[in-house]
Amino acid sequence: MDLTYGKEDIAFRQEVREFLAEHFPQQLADKARAEIRFKLDDYLLWQRILGDKGWIAPHWPVEYGGCGWTPVQLNIFDEEVTAVGAPRVMPFGIRLVGPVIYTYGTDAQKAQYLPRILASEDFWCQGFSEPGAGSDLASLRTSAVRDGDEYVVNGQKIWTSYAHYADLIFCLVRTDTTVKKQLGISFLLIDMKSPGVSVRPIRTLDGDHIVNEVFLENVRVPVENLVGEENKGWDYAKFLLSNERTGIAGIGMVKADLARLHHIALTERRNGQPLIDDPLFQARLARLEIDRRALELTNLRMLTTGGDSGAFPSILKIKGSQLQQRSVELQMEAVGPYALPWQSDAMEPAWNGEPVGPDHVRARTPVYFDRRKTTIYGGSTEVQKNIISKILLDV
């Protein structure tokens, strides 16, 4: 038992820090500090810097452009880039469809898509959820009917993050309606500029626009855009969703939230003293720090031992998403009455109004509302609990 980082890991962290000190753009650091929302250009700027360094897809196999880092090193990397406030690398190409393509795709698909993913030339989005198929994903109804060398796709996707930025969408579609629902699904890559594709924005509680509805009306998709075999799409989706669970705990985000919370709690006052010295607030914050510590260690325990059971990703998702919510909830509590003015617009880069209250109050309530999603997406807390008991209970 040795719960300290090894020499290689310490050196690796240093290397990442030096790279970030030199290459992470000041303009992005400023935006992050001021809590201005990142837009497409910001994401691309940063992803291309990482791409140039060869660090855009570190977890990929080395032959496809990965870095060969250990799980602990991947974790260190995530921590450090999050600590400087870097925009998150969009997962849709790198984390989600990329591994599906290099695992199940044809050579032609690999050649066509993988380099463009690494270079951030294509912006991908994910077409899984449908209005009638949320937690019960396999009941999806978007249909793809073979017509010569093309599929004709009809249906609707929902909760599609960044569809309004996307060049391509990877979709689950139904290619056989006569079999058990999981057995009639295929995995299709669709150009967002195809005729018949339209995008409708969905604004979320924080006032931001990230997710969308995507409508597919008689969209014609070349058969070479099918990944793997027809009607085997559910297998690829399960593979993809299991990858989605990496970094599931969101430690980096929680740490950044807590750093901000410390700053706020040192600045705000209660009964004439810094809020951080208020016994109730301090106890709450300390408990949250202890939970962060537990989450971080549990994550490292899973990474280094594989965990004691397959339930670990779900365990981390549950606790991690709770902390991602609790930390911003405490931030909101920390600003007291200044939680009341609604300043979502002030988080937009184009905004040029006059902010209300100290700088640190602006984003508090919108971010609180935004974070309600973390226990819903990527498998809700309830779905994760189902998974845990399915794995651990023999009933």
Binding site: S139, I158, R203, E268, W342, R372, I376
Partner: protein, 383 residues
């Protein structure tokens, strides 16, 4: 012992139900909002607590509660709370006959919007933390200071402002005076905004604003008692708004559980969600009892009883009400985090009730002080 509405309260509730039907809350435009405000005046809502002598209904805080529940249930935005509850309350409690005469009638008619500017930057919820200064100057005063998160401050015609003499320390209940300040006076700058639920508010700066002698509301240096009383009236009312909003939150969740299907059945058939829902109902019913009590007692002359009842309601509304909203969003899944679906508007209204007029920590501390005093007195009595 009777928890049910009186006949008058039932009529008030029903008339508001009709009045508010079809109003759109945060998305209402200015013209529609003005029209609604006039309609409120006509039903007597604005003058609800104004004495009959001044054209009001002489209602009490229990009637305010009945009205505020409907406001919360329908998610409408009016300056009811700032003008008809807090503003009218301040004038009733501390105003001279002349002051009441010149303001309350107009207020009840919908012709005068009032906003209480009590809170200051850095003071959090401490109403005795006042750095705004009023210098005596000839017959009148010169007022300077910053006020923040003023409910209805964006379009008030008249401010009620707390201030103290220049040489006094910033903290403490002693020495605070209240002033009626015409919003059009020179030296007033307001930064207006919408709050979480779309209602209006403002940060307001007073820069050497010259006030006439009759601007003083109540006795000089003795304003704190009024401040606290008015804040409790407002706190009880916003709890009732929150309760109305929570009723809708529970109702929407019930409907969603009954109609939304997953894995071939209504999601309300899943036991985990059933139990989640039962938790919401248990919390909701206990919040309701305390909000009723606060409504019944918010204008009581017994200050200790009043403060305990209001603080109790405020604590559960903030803590348990927030949790109900979180659970409701969670049970709705994706649709619950969209701006389009009405659940969000109601949870945002609950959030306003959460952070306005003292948060849970503020009120639990106040409740705790009374609790300790009572415990100590009991021990002293029983030896």
């Amino acid at each position: 012992m009777d928890f049910s509405y009186s006949d008058e309260q039932r009529m008030l509730s029903e008339s508001l139900e009709k009045l508010f039907a079809g109003h759109a809350g945060r998305n209402e435009d200015r013209a529609a909002a003005d029209k609604l405000w006039q309609a409120c005046a006509e039903t007597g809502l604005i003058g609800l607590t104004v004495p009959e002598d001044h054209g009001g209904l002489s209602g009490g805080s229990a009637d305010v509660m009945v009205a505020a529940i409907e406001i919360g249930r329908h998610g409408v935005n009016t300056p009811f709370l700032s003008t008809a509850v807090a503003g009218a309350g301040a004038l009733r409690l501390a105003g001279t006959d002349a002051q009441q005469q010149s303001h309350l009638g107009r207020l009840a008619e919908g012709g005068l919007k009032v906003a209480c500017a009590f809170a200051e930057p850095g003071a959090r919820y401490d109403l005795a933390d006042v750095d705004t200064r009023a210098i005596e100057d000839g017959d009148g005063y010169v007022l300077s200071g910053d006020k923040c998160v003023v409910f209805g401050g964006d379009d008030a015609d008249l401010f009620v402002v707390s201030a103290r003499a220049p040489d006094e320390a910033r903290h403490g209940a002693e020495g605070i005076s209240l002033f009626l300040v015409d919003a059009e006076l020179a030296g007033i700058t307001r930064k207006g905004y919408q709050m979480i639920d779309g209602r209006g508010g403002a940060d307001v700066t007073f820069d050497n604003v010259r006030l006439p002698a009759d601007a003083l509301l109540g006795t000089q240096g003795q304003g704190y008692v009024t401040l606290e009383a008015v804040n409790d009236l407002a706190a009880a009312a916003i709890c009732a708004e929150g309760l109305g909003a929570l009723e809708k939150v529970v109702e929407l969740t019930k409907e969603y559980l009954e109609t939304r299907k997953q894995f071939g059945k209504a999601i309300g058939e899943f036991q985990a969600l059933q139990h989640f829902f039962a938790d919401m109902v248990v919390d909701y019913e206990h919040i309701k009892s305390l909000v009723f009590e606060a409504g019944a007692i918010a204008d009581s002359a017994d200050v200790v009883e009043r403060q305990q009842a209001v603080s109790a309601a405020k604590v559960v509304l903030a803590e348990d009400g927030r949790r109900i909203c979180q659970q409701a969003i969670q049970m709705h899944g994706g649709i619950g985090v969209t701006q389009e679906y009405q659940l969000g508007d109601f949870t945002k209204r609950v959030a306003v009730a959460d952070f306005a007029f003292g948060d849970a920590d503020h009120h639990i501390a106040r409740y705790g002080r009374h609790m300790v005093a009572a415990a100590a007195a009991r021990v002293a009595q029983n030896g």
